[in-house]
Symmetry: C2
């Protein structure tokens, strides 16, 4: 392994330039205008897989964006790792808040800023470089690997599920490895054992066929922006508890053991609040901040639009109002059941003054694994070797819906080994990755493959 | 008078073409980008005043857009009419809902479509043509006239008040005439004796310094879009009553006589609802639709903006949320007092999780006059001659803030004689004016000047 680590350390500058080239492709899956960029990015990833020595590289077409596949299967008898990542990224608006262009990787204070630097291009690339180092120095890997890098993670991975279902034999493996989550804190490498799920909706109200003069008509008709506000306000109580009937029915309670573990973590609530620039933290009554984010479901308004939103004053009663509403779910909530409950309730609370359009955008199941899984333990040892300290075990508030798919369709456990930062701005302006973590992550990944080789399967 | 009426009837085609030229100037006062168009429009109006034979025409500069002044004072001993109108127009968004370009006057089914066709360029132009006909045919007017056409009516007439206050002597007159309101219905010419006032605000909330990933942070912080919805929902109760403390203190109750008059008007609530495309009408409990629009104050959300509003799903907790909120006021509510009450209450209901910015946009006082005023009666006779039927007396839900200014600063009664249509879309796409009403309005205006000549002052 020493020669692998030496190779990695000697190639840092090249890695950075290569990663910048990947980050320069604006593969925003949520915006149709970027469709050609998304495809270009898939092709870049496939080319890179070939460059580093993977085999059977190909773009699998789907009903949406292609899945890039590559493998190396020259270690008979050794375990097989199925690595999952995504090459698509979040939109970049509001653009004016970026301190450097989102698709121009820029290093400031040891951190690389760009959309996708942490979520997930940077972390996918970390594995590419670990695999490359093994193959260049030893001509082989200690394990078998299959990689699938998809292009729809930021829009719900709708077609990946189908791809996995229809390629079960080709994807057969012993463990799934995913690097798409932050570490607990700077200097505190982590392994994540739980993720929240997602259910995302759009609510559109129409009150009249066109916008109306608020003088000539104000008082005679319901205002869709006001009605939307009334409806949203009913969704949570003052204590932050979601009021959709049945919403908490399947929520698995945090165990006392988990709550004790969370309390021991080096979490500074004041620093957390100040980093976010929030005047005051706020969440569900009866839970700590970590418990709220990792172990409790939430409901958020992701967007609101109605009427006149430019500078100045326009005295209009809007014809329509729109809200994007999403929920983060925890084990054992089911996104489809939650969607049914929510839709039924929204139709119930919508007044007869409005035409309602309710749209289900996408959903993903929550997930949890156990710490004592042999692969999780192997990851823990690799992190200790790469970062010089043992990891903490955490949950994550975000969603990686395919983790549940791998569990259900392939019967595989997942190891979530992420090197992002908690303040990496994954879905906001000025997304970044710490270059120290990036380089240590490459080394830890290389060790991880060696540790995985020792797991009896 | 016959020669005046003949002249008007013979020049209809020319009037239409000239009006289209005026409507082609996008004098949108709310949008800074249109500042040059606003000025160009003021100059067009001044040129037109000179063309039709008015004297002392000039642009009075203000801190904002110029007031165009012109007069004809050759009837010593006769009453003096101060005519007020505005050459600025509302914004045109959403542009895609216009069936023909908003600044290209287009006739369909006897109606002229364009922004400003009804509010207020078309109605100002109606008086220009009545004055022109008198001057061309008789070389004189039966009364003295002073015209002020301003460019900030759609943004609160902030500088007109100052202009009136500082030009009291120059503006001395016997009556103010304004044509900036719709008739009650097609075929039902009207004189308006009451207007609502306005108070307009913007509320901005900030929860965090930037947008956050709803997975990584959802549950830990308050969501400004949700908080804004909660705040807005508190502004009115289920019965449509405004909950701002003290809001109704100065509301003058509708008299039994008024309520009886309103009941007699040919108002078809079903047709009204269907014309608007509203599934169901809704307003303050205990009042009819006309009472709600004409005689009761309202609170409307004019605009909402927060987070991700594009196509697709972005899992973001917005950093900021914005609402534009305005109230229509009735006698004897005072916009400044209402603004104080509202601002104080908004600060009180805003939670500590948010930074609040409260902006007062503009306001205008409500107004009422009495039916038996001699000028109002003269207008009634003129309308009967121009339209062939006597007018009904109505109130209007809109605001013409300067009407109160004329009352207070100049001690003048106002006559509101409008020929717009109730469904003219004054502040919405596809604004229009009925050409029959426009031509009859020119004739009625010409008669009105003659009727005014007979009022003893």
């Amino acid at each position: 392994m020493d020669n692998v680590v030496d190779f990695i350390n000697m190639n840092r500058d090249r890695y950075l330039e290569e990663l910048k080239a990947l980050l320069a492709i604006p593969s925003v899956s949520a915006l149709p205008v970027h469709a050609p960029d998304v495809r270009r990015c898939a092709e870049w990833v496939a080319d890179e897989m070939r460059r580093i020595g993977l085999q059977n590289v190909q773009l699998h077409e789907t009903a949406g964006n292609p899945v890039v596949y590559g493998d190396w299967l020259g270690a008979p008898g050794a375990p097989t790792m199925l690595f999952y990542g995504h090459y698509d990224v979040q939109p970049v608006d509001p653009l004016d808040l970026w301190e450097s262009p989102p698709f121009e990787g820029t290093v400031r204070d040891g951190e690389l800023y760009a959309r996708g630097s942490a979520d997930d291009k940077g972390q996918v690339f970390m594995h590419f470089k670990a695999l490359e180092a093994w193959l260049r120095q030893n001509g082989r890997l200690p394990i078998n690997v299959k990689l699938i890098i998809e292009g729809e993670e930021e829009v719900g991975s709708d077609n990946l599920d189908e791809f996995v279902r229809t390629h079960k034999r080709e994807l057969a493996a012993d463990v799934v490895v995913i690097s798409d989550s932050p570490m607990f804190d700077r200097g505190v490498p982590s392994i994540c054992y739980g993720l929240r799920g997602l259910a995302y909706f759009q609510i559109d109200l129409r009150g009249t066929k066109s916008d109306l003069h608020s003088g000539s008509f104000g008082g005679a008709v319901a205002n869709p922006a006001f009605v939307l506000a009334q409806m949203i306000a009913q969704m949570k109580d003052r204590g932050g508890r979601i009021k959709v009937p049945g919403f908490y029915d399947d929520v698995r309670a945090l165990t006392d053991a988990e709550r004790e573990e969370f309390k021991k973590l080096p979490f500074n609530e004041t620093r957390f609040r100040k980093d976010l620039g929030a005047p005051k933290l706020m969440g569900e009554t009866g839970y700590s901040t970590l418990e709220r984010v990792w172990g409790r479901p939430t409901l958020e308004v992701n967007g609101l639009l109605s009427g006149f939103t430019g500078d100045g004053a326009k005295t209009v009663i809007p014809a329509v109002a729109m809200a994007k509403i999403s929920m983060r779910l925890v084990p054992d909530q089911d996104p489809a059941k939650i969607a049914d409950q929510f839709e039924k309730w929204v139709w119930k609370i919508a007044p007869k003054t409005m035409e309602l359009k309710f749209t289900r955008m996408h959903g993903g199941k929550p997930w949890m694994t156990s710490f004592d899984n042999a692969f999780v333990q192997a990851a823990g040892r690799a992190i200790e070797r790469g970062f010089g300290k043992s990891p903490v075990f955490t949950r994550e508030g975000g969603s990686i819906p395919v983790v549940s798919t791998f569990q259900e369709e392939l019967g595989l456990p997942s190891v979530l080994f992420g090197v992002g930062l908690p303040d990496e701005n994954a879905h906001a302006p000025n997304e970044r990755i710490d270059l120290g973590n990036f380089y240590n992550g490459i080394i830890a990944s290389a060790y991880f493959y060696e540790e995985l080789a020792g797991v009896t399967v």
